[in-house]
Amino acid sequence: MIGPASRPRLAPKVRFRFDKRSGKHMLLYPERGLELTAQAARIAELCAEQLTVAAMVERLVSEHPGVPHARIEADVLTFLRQLDDRGLLAETGT
């Protein structure tokens, strides 16, 4: 299961793109798609940088001064675990 030490990246079948019509980012994969909130889109973007989850959380904390660390960490883990459940993440070794 995805934890703070994991280095999640999007599985090769997943394409991250912006959708003009809805004004949202999306993850597209065979036969399906997910519309992302702005926060989720930022996390998906960070997946391209080969960071650990802990490092992602640090980055987001610095981008959102005032939001508690624990809250951001919980949100990141929840989102990444949802992606993982759908088979949309490939984890690289820690």
């Binding site: 090769p12 394409r15 959708d19 019509r21 597209l28 994969y29 065979p30 036969e31 759908r86 088979g87």
Partner: protein, 369 residues
């Protein structure tokens, strides 16, 4: 009232581009239309490219390039380039035959996002039994080549009585081939598969066994392989949500340019279809007779009309209602609330009757290309 019928047409997500009816195989469960002659003239490259552009404008996000066998079209690379230029997630759905290693590399370079390879059986004899040809070795080669050029691979398996016991072997094959996705879809009993239903429908016991195996593998392979199991609605209380609702998410364009809400829709007598050669995809999607006929819930009969589940399964499959009951606007008989559910129950009983003979008819009109 559904959102669809109050605020106009919903946004389609997927274009199914059936590029050709030509196919070197002749699978007994194939649901392509049975009359080939009508489809003699395929759309040319420029027309498909226009359709891909119109699809993007309509809000479509994915295109499935399929057939028949799309590899028999020599403009496939050009179509992939256009699809990507329109930012469409591009899936190639293929039997992998005729196989050409260099071509897979070119398709990947052109921007192909995913390859869905159909595998008939894990066993050469079984594969020949169902498709009239033993092509398992060729499939293995295609899968290896796809991985070598970095193409994400889905194995598409159509399950039936003859191969359902090999679900564990299909899972092992997907692992060995490095597939990212395994789709185990039970045959949909329409078209040719309906003719062969008594030979193809598995027993309830075989089905639940397969499902248990698939569920366990899904847990074990989570994060490595996404495993989908599509049940046959013959063994469920509710019909499947056909295409996620008639004319709600999908547009199918046939090789000669007819736009359909579902690839079986031409089996429904009396529905009129428009052609992309005469009208834009948007006009057809928004207002044509075939697309509006069963969109939303105004068309629904009892018991669907007042059913709480009508936003979940949309009343089931129109083509199945037509094929089994002769009325495309009836509740899908696969639903246990349908007054005609007995036709499904009878088929189920025949499937468990061990004395029944089950000859299988292969389709014969196919062109060897």
């Amino acid at each position: 009232m559904t959102a669809a019928s109050t605020i106009g047409a919903p946004r389609p997500y997927t274009l199914v581009a059936e590029l050709t009816y030509r196919c070197p195989l002749s699978c007994a469960y194939c649901s392509n239309p049975l009359e080939l002659a009508r489809h003699a003239s395929e759309l040319d490259t420029a027309t498909w490219q226009r359709v891909l552009g119109e699809a993007e404008s309509l809000g479509i996000l994915q295109v499935n390039l399929t057939g028949g066998e799309p590899l028999v079209r020599d403009d496939l690379e050009a179509l992939v380039v256009t699809a990507r230029a329109h930012d469409l997630y591009t899936n190639l759905i293929t039997s992998g035959i005729p196989f050409d290693r260099a071509r897979l590399g070119r398709l990947r370079a052109a921007g192909l996002d995913s390859l869905q390879l159909s595998v008939q059986d894990t066993d050469a004899q079984g594969s020949a039994w169902i498709s009239g040809r033993d092509c398992l070795d060729a499939k293995l080669e295609v899968a290896a080549a796809a991985r070598a050029v970095g193409l994400p691979l889905t194995l598409n398996v159509v399950l039936h009585r003859g191969n359902i016991a090999r679900v564990p072997a299909f899972i092992a094959l997907a692992e060995r081939l490095g597939a990212e996705r395994l789709e185990l879809a039970n045959t949909q009993y329409l078209g040719w598969a309906l003719v062969n239903r008594d030979a193809l429908l598995p027993t309830q016991a075989a089905l639940s066994e397969a499902r248990t195996v698939a569920d366990a593998a899904r847990e074990r392979l989570r994060g490595k392989i996404e495993i989908l199991f599509v049940r046959p609605d013959y063994y469920a209380d509710r019909p499947r949500a056909c295409m996620e609702g008639w004319a709600r998410r999908y547009v199918v364009v046939t090789p000669d340019g007819q736009a359909l809400p579902c690839h079986q829709a031409t089996s429904i007598n009396g529905l009129r279809f428009e052609n992309v050669k005469d009208r834009s995809l948007a006009e057809i999607w928004n207002a044509s007779e075939a697309f509006t006929a069963f969109r939303g819930d105004d068309w629904m009969p009892a018991p669907c009309r007042t059913c709480d589940e009508r936003e979940i399964d949309f009343g089931g499959c129109r083509c199945q209602a037509f094929a089994l009951l002769g009325d495309a606007a009836a509740t899908d008989p696969a639903c246990s609330l349908s007054p005609r559910h007995d036709v499904i129950e009878a088929a189920r009983l025949r499937a468990t009757d061990v004395r029944a003979e089950r000859p299988l008819q292969l389709r014969r009109f196919r062109l060897e290309s």
